[in-house]
Symmetry: D2
Subunit: 313 residues, 4 copies
Amino acid sequence: MNVQDFKWKQNITVKELVEQYQSVGYQSVELAKAAEVFVKMKKSSAKIYLTFTSNMVTSGLRGFFAQLISLGMADIIVTTVGGIEEDIMKATGEKFKIGDFHSDDVELHEKGVNRVGNLFVNNESYMNFEDWVTPVLTNLYEKQKRWAVSELLREIGLLLNDENSFLYQSAKNNVPVFCPAITDGAFGFHLYLFQQKHSDFIVDVVKDFGNILFSSSHDEKKAVVALGGSISKHHAILCTLLNGGAEYAVYMTTAHKTSGSMSGATTDEAKSWGKVKDDSDVATVIGDVTIMFPIAMIKALEELSVEGLLRNV
Amino acid sequence: MNVQDFKWKQNITVKELVEQYQSVGYQSVELAKAAEVFVKMKKSSAKIYLTFTSNMVTSGLRGFFAQLISLGMADIIVTTVGGIEEDIMKATGEKFKIGDFHSDDVELHEKGVNRVGNLFVNNESYMNFEDWVTPVLTNLYEKQKRWAVSELLREIGLLLNDENSFLYQSAKNNVPVFCPAITDGAFGFHLYLFQQKHSDFIVDVVKDFGNILFSSSHDEKKAVVALGGSISKHHAILCTLLNGGAEYAVYMTTAHKTSGSMSGATTDEAKSWGKVKDDSDVATVIGDVTIMFPIAMIKALEELSVEGLLRNV
Amino acid sequence: MNVQDFKWKQNITVKELVEQYQSVGYQSVELAKAAEVFVKMKKSSAKIYLTFTSNMVTSGLRGFFAQLISLGMADIIVTTVGGIEEDIMKATGEKFKIGDFHSDDVELHEKGVNRVGNLFVNNESYMNFEDWVTPVLTNLYEKQKRWAVSELLREIGLLLNDENSFLYQSAKNNVPVFCPAITDGAFGFHLYLFQQKHSDFIVDVVKDFGNILFSSSHDEKKAVVALGGSISKHHAILCTLLNGGAEYAVYMTTAHKTSGSMSGATTDEAKSWGKVKDDSDVATVIGDVTIMFPIAMIKALEELSVEGLLRNV
Amino acid sequence: MNVQDFKWKQNITVKELVEQYQSVGYQSVELAKAAEVFVKMKKSSAKIYLTFTSNMVTSGLRGFFAQLISLGMADIIVTTVGGIEEDIMKATGEKFKIGDFHSDDVELHEKGVNRVGNLFVNNESYMNFEDWVTPVLTNLYEKQKRWAVSELLREIGLLLNDENSFLYQSAKNNVPVFCPAITDGAFGFHLYLFQQKHSDFIVDVVKDFGNILFSSSHDEKKAVVALGGSISKHHAILCTLLNGGAEYAVYMTTAHKTSGSMSGATTDEAKSWGKVKDDSDVATVIGDVTIMFPIAMIKALEELSVEGLLRNV
């Protein structure tokens, strides 16, 4: 394909934008390719593992994740515990604010404000979360003493009546949510306090490994959509690998491969899984997920909705 | 402003996308802010310095730059010489190809292909450029012996009858094009060969410093839109500084400020120029320009066209 | 302090190098500051939380971590499960190879080689790990059925007779090792297989939250040395926060703060914890940990050894 | 080679550090390789093009560049005009300060301080530079009216009696200094003011293209050591290419190749020049130059001095 001159026309849609990206160059080409891989994975009925780090739930992408689950674009979710906490906070009415990367952190501290990049979360939201979570744990404990993480999160999702909550949409649409480090956050602290009073209360992470392992099979096609790095990305790759490898993969991240970190690992490695047939089934796009993911996914949604492949449209 | 849940709706436009970005978080917020600064600079009739590195002309952004000049969104252009060469190549019919970041470079070399990221330029295009440029220099030399760079580039622009050429649109719309390192490319080699035969042929870079200095005045409002880093960015900042500083600035780059380089310098420094009134007049967006610049600028163009502030729509 | 001209002299030591870095500029200044913070935290008898991601254990830094534990420069370790697995592999005789970032991944796959950046790990090493871990789990299960992660890792460390193993040195020197996502790797798979046969085998992550919480107290001084990002960094920060915040912090990473990720969060935020007195107690250094961490830490070790503040020298 | 456990020993030298880096992993391996390429290029008597951006002259690396020229480790210099200006400022007694990346830029502006990353340059230094440069231009103009840039810089170097000045050491050791964008800085402004009074004063950039072209020949071996990106890197690559390509190349930069920029282009492309025999002759190291370059170069200097291959030791 030749490089084509990009041109604006009035009322240009996101779909038309991404069509032009195909022939612009650099990361815009990779983004357009990611959109195509999204379409391919859905058309081939692959099981889609969608992974994201907690900072994306802090951001407004949280509602988009919920929508994607509802539309049938995600079959398994993997995230970190901060994402669980903040989804609950938002579902129970807490508001996060658009702030500034260059804030005076000492001043924010005095005001009881936590900064995540250019977003602000009040200490009060954490306190309200505590008030919400303690009775929930009591109720769940009354049902059973030993919980796999994803089973616990399903119960919590059912309590959240918010269509923009990914936990709610997951529970409603039978999409399991995995969180391999469930104690690494305020939620972990509350679990600990609860266990202090109820020593037979068990969060069974080992059992949940089986759950994610059986969330797809060797015979099914599998796809990994990894937003950001960290263990959410690693966990999905690990589990698809144990099931023979994914056929499709899209990674979006700001990390680079030069440090040897998982966060920066590219889809090149996917070829070494032995199941990816060729380069047209994988894409790595370097840049900010809040900008890139909506664009690429919207392009795919527009195509898939025309073909009637989306649920609940 | 509160963080808002992002939602797709069918046929969403780029304008609507960026409106949602305002309340998503991280770089999407900065991108939405960049769009607002573009609108502000145009509404206030600031002289707009648009700077870009040559790899952006290799890409399809080249046609967008030409369109922006035509629309009146750029009053002064600063770029590197590779951008000049490739604009001419494209205007004279050369085609560049979408390739791959992970190509076999030895094989490409044997095929006479040059790689710029994931874009391919044939050696033949450079040879055709040589055939084109030599008679042009002869004609210009017959007009006069001593040329300021921007005056030379204006003459060249008038020879290119291609509405997607930024040199053509610049010449046609009286937008000067500055290139502070005119010899740093194939064009430099051809200038050198020409001077070998005509020792009184002079490319006067010092005179052109005066030209860019007088391209705006202390009294006028000024804006810098810097895409990528390098001397194109530095030159525009330097010249606006000598005229009292810019009122508006948008920087888009993948570089970070931690290395102390100009490419990574942010608009924070713009505050130190003493003329920026507040943070709402500057934006630094980190990421790939081929993705981010069209989106932010399109949002501004949609607004400005409604208000009748664009030329030639 | 003025910028000073850097000069080489024959047989220059690392200590002398870092002394010059103080007055060179950019990240070299931050690195020299990190060395000073290491000295301060040790002199003030702070509890030192050393966190690292698994790719650093893949690299030769693994032996350095073991040495630092032995010397008394780390009181609590937090890492990811890949680091646990690879420390065991190396301690049981597996060799990893220096490879290439640009390897042919399909070819590597056919040879049974896994690539981590420019390092190679054979599939065979994972199989040998499996052979080693299964009887170990059987023995531990015979001791007790329910294990907190750090208690399990301590037992494993005692089995590894390798002074270059961080698990061994940790166990020997009563340094707890925390791993908040113990199932996110091959080890998780083996735990799962074991639990299939022994359903009352429990890995208690909630109990371990209490263990890390009580690894230091409000009254003690605390320091966080975070190499790379991910949950290992986050977990140490979280736990020191719950104990009133750390007095000292050094972060080394390739990630930038612009994406709002934990990996890229800087020590600026440490000021918002309310206990850091001033900027001289924190340092964020941007770059590759394998280069930067040894240099900064060696500078500190040279000073601390002279003052007799290191153990086992 | 196997990955080896890194270990500190007391009074470890930089040479011993880099020897260990060879078997640590990630960028430390690339840095050790860069040291080897430095040794190879000198042993093979290649013409060494050393390029650096102006921010490195702002830093203390400036004195190291001067030392390297004196030792015979650089045969041709390419830099940007800011580097020229600041070398002169330092040679004429100006002091730059170690500051902070997170300074209050508005406050700095009011104090007349310019910030370059975490380094501070006073406005006064620029004023003193102006006082120094004007009579120098007058004297040079009396000698001749038309100057190639490198010839002008040689004359200036001879006026600076400072062994830590790279302009001085270059002039003294017959090392030409090229600066393809000589007007892109305060120096450009002074050249312009001077030309206003003396219209026949010409800075001939085209002639200087011939000078750099003949600074090496097709038959000589050539090496490019590029620190940072920008036109200084590009110019050296261009000129060695026109002479058949370099046999050796070391690039050190914080930029990544994913944006298609020259700053992020790696030495992989060097293979496409057709002269690099194998991977052992090139190295790309990602990270901060102020940390990495001294270490890698010192390792090479220690080896080369033992073999008597350095000048003036």
